[in-house]
């Protein structure tokens, strides 16, 4: 969805921000490095890093951005667990954009990839 939303606004971004590259996160996304680090420290459950990331994001972007970023991060802590605990496959696995993103980010190595790729292997 990052690529799709960037395309909708004709913004050039570097998707490697999702992989944790701070300079990539900065490309085309306001407060990208701060948002990336905040999300990362929450998901990694690294409390010292989270405290520092919260402070940095607050100072850079203000409380409104911090609270909304917390909401989105919390939302996706839920969504990944719904997907993996019910074993749902990706809906659009054959979509070229989906395939490109999987290749760019190396997603096929994730253990939960079997829920989608096993189906492809079975049906091909």
């Amino acid at each position: 969805m990052l690529r799709v939303s960037a395309k909708a606004t004709n913004t050039t971004i570097d998707i490697q921000g999702i992989s944790g590259d701070a300079s990539a996160a900065a490309q085309g996304i306001e407060y990208g490095p701060e948002l990336m680090r905040f999300a990362e420290s929450l998901a990694r459950r690294n409390e010292p890093d989270l405290t520092a990331a919260r402070k940095d994001l607050l100072e850079a972007a203000g409380p409104g951005v911090l609270v909304d970023a917390a909401g989105v991060a919390a939302n996706f802590q839920r969504m990944v667990r719904i997907a993996d605990s019910t074993g749902i496959p990706v809906d659009n696995l054959d979509n070229p954009l989906s395939q490109q993103i999987r290749a760019d980010l190396g997603l096929d190595t994730f253990s939960s990839a079997r829920n989608s790729l096993a189906i492809t292997a079975t049906s091909s």
């Binding site: 969805m1 990052l2 799709v4 939303s5 960037a6 909708a8 606004t9 913004t11 971004i13 998707i15 999702i18 996160a25 085309g28 407060y31 990208g32 948002l35 990336m36 905040f38 999300a39 990362e40 929450l42 998901a43 990694r44 459950r45 989270l50 919260r54 409380p63 409104g64 951005v65 911090l66 609270v67 909304d68 970023a69 917390a70 909401g71 989105v72 991060a73 919390a74 939302n75 802590q77 839920r78 969504m79 990944v80 667990r81 719904i82 997907a83 993996d84 605990s85 019910t86 074993g87 749902i88 496959p89 990706v90 997603l107 096929d108 994730f110 253990s111 939960s112 829920n115 989608s116």
Partner: protein
């Protein structure tokens, strides 16, 4: 009053507070397959899981299914239910069809598992919101007495994922409006064996992220301080760290 956030250093949007209060209200009451007390016990296991030493050991093991040990847990739920709740929080990427089938043989039916999953992920996301902002977690509510409804949707299919789900064209009758846009992705169908679990995640997602209708706005929601690209950077980074392929 729950979720008052009066001591928060940051103003919390009213729709977030209301969504959390509404979920806490439902959490305390009987669901489709669990009593109010059991639902609150499931919520408590979310908090036990994040501090569970056995879960940490198991997470680093080559296989989660051959590692002996005991969870940090309460005493109201079966060991199978506790194990499922902890696995969803700490090692969800290694949940398999075999894990769920074995749980069913041990008494955790698919219906119980799906409702449990809905509670676990909802409570976890609310707790994570607080943790993100350095706010202590909300005390769990007191249970309300009553019996579960045992409601099961009529139009289920077993062709997707590990558990039965409402079929793509099955959102009719009592399930009418489950996917208000008329289109249903697999993640929307995932918890529909217990339709209220989907309704709960819609309500929370509408406050924390975007409504299902709002997701079609790829630029910016007027009621948010961050644009869609900023949201998706956060979403992508959280999902990548959790190794979520979906």
């Amino acid at each position: 009053m729950t979720f008052s956030y009066t001591n928060s250093a940051y103003p919390i949007r009213e729709d977030i507070t209301q969504a959390y209060q509404a979920f806490w209200h439902k959490l305390a009451r009987p669901g489709a397959w669990w009593s109010g007390a059991q639902r609150i016990a499931i919520a408590a296991e979310v908090r036990n899981a994040v501090e569970c030493q056995y879960c940490q050991v198991r997470k680093s093991a080559l296989s989660p299914y051959t590692t002996p040990g005991k969870h940090k847990k309460g005493n109201l739920l079966s060991d199978t239910a506790v194990d499922a709740a902890h696995m969803i929080i700490t090692d969800q990427g290694r949940i398999t069809q075999a894990f769920i089938d074995k749980a069913a043989l041990q008494g955790l039916s698919n219906e119980h598992y799906v409702e449990l999953t809905g509670i676990v992920v909802a409570v976890f996301s609310i707790d994570e919101f607080n943790r993100a902002l350095g706010i202590p977690v909300e005390p769990l509510p007191q249970p309300v007495a009553g019996a579960p409804s045992h409601y099961r949707p009529a139009n289920l299919s077993t062709d997707t994922g590990f558990v039965p789900m409402v079929s793509v064209d099955g959102a009719v009758g009592n399930e009418r409006g489950l996917w208000p846009t008329g289109r249903s992705a697999n993640v929307v169908r995932a918890l529909t064996l217990v339709p209220d679990a989907l309704r709960d995640w819609f309500n929370l997602a509408s406050a924390q992220y975007l409504s299902l209708e709002g997701m079609s706005n790829l630029v910016r929601d007027d009621n948010r301080s961050i644009n869609r690209m900023q949201m998706e950077l956060i979403a992508g980074r959280v999902s990548a760290i959790n190794e979520c392929f979906y």
